[in-house]
């Protein structure tokens, strides 16, 4: 399969910067998509850096735990942060825009990938976003978003709600 890239909307795009100075590397997602990335950008992930140093992959690094859509987003992030001449202010602005368009379920996927690939800055920022998105939400919203089944009985639920009634003040409506 030819290396290709996707933007966060899932459309195929030509990779913005064909790195000339640094060698390219192929990252392979769980669903078999391949992405080209410069070694300097990939090296911002501690996990990929270790794999490059071990050189066990022969130029292609399989990431069997990250799907293509998520990997495309992570690569967009890494490319920006490895860009020559991008100031901290540029990167901060980029992060803000990059993350603000994502729904919480997408943020969760990116957080998981950020943790797995050991990209601390990304993981931390995404966690903050998730926290801001969920702090005023209802219990039902959290269960739905994180796909959790309640294992409380109806009586237990009623009891907990009554015990901590004050914590149910000011909760956003689930329709938001």
């Amino acid at each position: 399969m030819a290396p290709k890239n996707k933007n966060p909307n899932g459309e195929n795009v030509v990779p913005e910067v064909q790195q000339k100075k640094t060698q390219a590397l192929i990252l392979k997602s769980s669903d078999g998509e391949e992405f080209s990335i410069s070694k300097s950008a990939a090296g911002l992930s501690v996990a990929i850096k270790n794999m490059m140093e071990d050189d066990c992959a022969g130029g292609v690094i399989p990431l069997p735990l990250v799907d293509g859509g998520t990997l495309a987003r992570v690569i967009t992030y890494l490319n920006k942060h490895a860009e020559d001449g991008a100031s901290d202010e540029d990167k901060r602005k980029f992060d803000e825009e990059f993350l603000s368009g994502m729904e919480v379920d997408v943020l969760c996927d990116v957080a998981l990938a950020g943790n797995y690939l050991d990209i601390r800055g990304l993981f931390h920022d995404v966690c903050q976003r998730i926290v801001n998105g969920m702090k005023n939400k209802s219990v039902e919203w959290v269960r739905k978003t994180f796909r959790i089944e309640s294992d409380f009985t109806a009586e237990e639920e009623e009891q907990i709600k009554k015990e901590y009634a004050w914590a149910w003040e000011g909760v956003d409506s689930d329709a938001d």
Partner: protein, 371 residues
């Protein structure tokens, strides 16, 4: 146990470490609600180690308030929330009385079936019973119990017990002693004996600030007990802001800790024209600086000050009043009044009556701090 599985086979799932990373950033109120998500979330949020880390990460607390009505009826309310309601609150111990509140913990007394004392976290409802030492024949009466807890300095709390010796009924002074319970050593220690205090000193209403307990005493000097040095000292006298015609009288005093400062609230009446002053003690204990002095001239009729809330920013500085039938918030920034709790639909409502005062209102700082 994972809490999310992706549709894509082989995808990574959340492990507890990562989930905890997110939960640690959530405010206490959200976490308290999310205990209901699943039993696994309940166990993560309730773990003592998690509570300690969360407490350290959330040291700036925005206090809500807890109101004690007669007959063990308690209500939670948040003075800065629009459309705040009185939400019934139930303690897990019988017939409690709130003695004091300090950075997320309460000191409770339960008078029957027997007299018991508790340190209580109203957020988690965790409680711990403690008993007073009773081996002193000279200092027989307990004048006040106060709590000192500052999670930014230590996870342990202290209980300050002031006892008084018998005195002749005509005496305005009294011999006193102070014993301190330390939750770290789980024991009482005699810290100061004897000292002499006016019987008007309100030892049962101490205010914790700066690792010291402060007590009002009108019209004399307020006192404070320094827990670092085990000494008692008097606070500088707070000057009543000068009334224009020199005929003003201060008719209400109130000491209160709010957002890391000790405040002194005064209501002055000058020929029926009322004004409010808020003074703040400088960190060196040398003087009170005047923060606000606002006229409430048109604010007619009966009212009581319940609480001064100073948030992070000036615009949040709010005074909570009780007037018959409602609670009202006064914002210093734009000098505006806003009714925020309607009491007329409550079962306890009495027409044209003030039904509680500042002593019935305590800070409820949402905190997971373990006891």
């Amino acid at each position: 146990m994972s809490f999310r599985s992706s549709s894509v086979t082989g995808s990574i799932t959340w492990n507890d470490d990562m989930l905890i990373e997110i939960l640690l950033w959530l405010p206490t109120k959200s976490l308290t609600r999310f205990k209901l998500v699943s039993k696994h979330w309940l166990s993560l949020i309730s773990a003592p180690q998690f509570s300690r880390l969360h407490t350290l990460r959330h040291l700036k607390l925005q206090p809500s308030l807890i109101l004690h009505m007669h007959a063990s009826q308690f209500f939670y309310f948040h003075p800065l929330v629009d459309g705040a309601k009185l939400i019934p609150y139930h303690f897990t111990i019988p017939n409690p009385k709130i003695l004091t509140s300090c950075n997320g913990l309460l000191l409770l007394q339960s008078d029957y079936p027997q007299k018991d004392y508790y340190v209580y976290n109203p957020t988690t409802k965790q409680s711990k019973k403690f008993s007073l030492t009773n081996n002193d024949h000279k200092y027989t009466s307990v004048l006040g119990l106060n709590l000192a807890f500052d999670p930014s300095k230590s996870p342990h709390y202290k209980i300050v017990c002031v006892r008084g010796a018998e005195r002749s009924p005509s005496s305005a002074l009294q011999y006193c002693q102070i014993k301190v319970y330390d939750s770290n050593t789980q024991s009482w220690k005699l810290c100061l004996e004897p000292f002499i205090a006016y019987i008007t000193t309100q030892f049962s209403h101490g205010v914790h600030w700066n690792n010291a307990i402060h007590w009002e005493n009108h019209p004399f000097h307020h006192l404070y007990f320094d827990l670092d040095k085990n000494v008692i000292r008097s606070l500088p006298y707070a000057q009543t802001p000068c009334p224009a015609r020199g005929e003003g009288t201060a008719c209400h005093f109130h000491l209160q800790e709010s957002n890391g400062h000790l405040h002194h609230l005064m209501i002055m009446s000058e020929l029926g024209d009322k004004s409010i002053a808020v003074l703040e003690l400088t960190a060196d204990y040398l003087q009170w600086s005047l923060k606000y002095h606002d006229r409430l001239g048109w604010f007619q009729g009966m009212f009581r000050i319940l609480n001064f809330t100073s948030g992070d920013s000036e615009e949040m500085h709010t005074l909570v009043f009780h007037v018959p039938g409602k609670m009202t918030a006064y914002k210093f920034l734009d000098k505006s009044f806003k009714q925020f709790v309607d009491l007329t639909n409550q079962t306890f409502y009495q027409e044209d009556a003030l039904q509680f005062d500042s002593r019935d209102v305590h800070q409820f700082c949402e905190s997971l701090a373990p006891i």
